[in-house]
Symmetry: C2
Subunit: 212 residues, 2 copies
DNA sequence: ACCTGAACACCGTTCAAGT
DNA sequence: ACCTGAACACCGTTCAAGT
């Protein structure tokens, strides 16, 4: 789809093309062959830029985190807790957007420059709250875990649209209020959208309480 | 590999075979064709038992949660917080065991009987701490998110064993302490194994504080 | 250095046909 | 109802060869 008589292509171009496919056709369509075709390349030419499909996925993670990094983490005009919320909400939105996009985050350690930059911001924030150094690092890990897990749950719920349960023989009665009364009584609350922000606030409460 | 002149096969047999493949050859080897071959079946015969590969994955999730459900959630002899820790540790261990096993949890909503049973136990625990009904449901969601996210991070770190980073052009200097001093100074702490339990305790602190 | 064409060893899924 | 065999439309990756 690129205009003109393109001569050469960058890694960033490939990552962009991959995201465009992800957005329009889902994660299952993000294949080496598919991305190559979108760029007018042969599948084998892709291996000039990335040694494997997994390397492409990891580059996608970095690009994703870079957009979040710039927008949310570095604005000193707002309070620290609000910046954490902004970062978390953006990451959740981008990851849960398409079910299956979570394989990006399991494609390898989050050790790219933008991933580390975000972690750095998180740790700095906790240090600013008066936390000891070791606790701040673990607190940053906890926040990352919560956000990623929330994205996983969100994506999973989105994935079960037109799926008929075929797991166990007799489980069609799962909506039965007598079997799981507490879950049934709070089904509307659990699907509440700002339950995510509420839980994040509780986690931050528990983390910074140690400092006070 | 099943002995004797097997005549018929159950859904549970298929799920068991799938887990055996997962344990020995990883998630990538869990294919419709591979599971069928392990059972001496033709790939097409699998569609007699499950309408799709995704349905098989969802059945695997239920089987996985059932083992955890029985062992951790229902023992009233130990304190509630300890039971949450036991449940969380078991789920983390099983999910992070093999990188890529997290696609199980994104294969669809966690609406099977054992998934709902675990959620029921969590909500009941929070109610026992004096939480309002709506908050207890959201608290259970937060705990699930934290555990799942920790599993994702764990699996991702395990996945990057013999991977050489090919994401961005110039990122080989990521260990440079000057670029990310806080992350570098706490690298040993972040990979600490009981950072998971610590973070879970902080989350529970923040959640139950509302009740007190 | 960058790219092509052919090939290898796989996928999930469908369909007609057998018993 | 359960299973087979053949087929369709795909995968990731490697290798020899071109420029």
């Amino acid at each position: 789809m690129r205009p003109g008589p393109r001569r050469s292509i960058s890694q960033a171009d490939i990552v962009d093309a991959a995201f465009e496919i992800l957005e329009h056709k889902g994660m299952a369509a993000v294949s080496v062959r598919g991305v190559a075709a979108a760029l007018g390349l042969t599948p084998t030419a892709m291996y000039t830029y990335f040694p494997s499909k997994n390397a492409l996925l990891r580059a996608m993670v970095e690009q994703l985190l870079s957009t979040i990094d710039l927008a949310a983490a570095s604005d000193p005009g707002v309070a620290w807790r609000d910046r954490v919320h902004a970062f978390a909400a953006m990451l959740l939105e981008r990851l849960a957007e398409h079910a299956g996009a979570l394989v990006l985050v399991t494609s390898g350690p989050l050790d790219g420059p933008h991933a580390l930059g975000l972690n750095e911001s998180l740790i700095a924030g906790f240090l600013g709250e008066g936390m000891p150094h070791a606790d701040a690092a673990r607190a940053a890990l906890a926040v990352r875990a919560y956000v990623l897990g929330a994205a996983a749950i969100d994506a999973a719920e989105r994935a079960g649209d037109a799926e008929v349960g075929a797991g166990a023989p007799s489980q069609a009665l799962w909506t039965d209020a007598t079997a799981f009364p507490l879950t049934a009584a709070t089904a509307d609350v659990a699907s509440d959208d700002d339950g995510f922000a509420w839980g994040l606030d509780r986690l931050l409460d528990g983390l910074v309480r140690r400092a006070a």
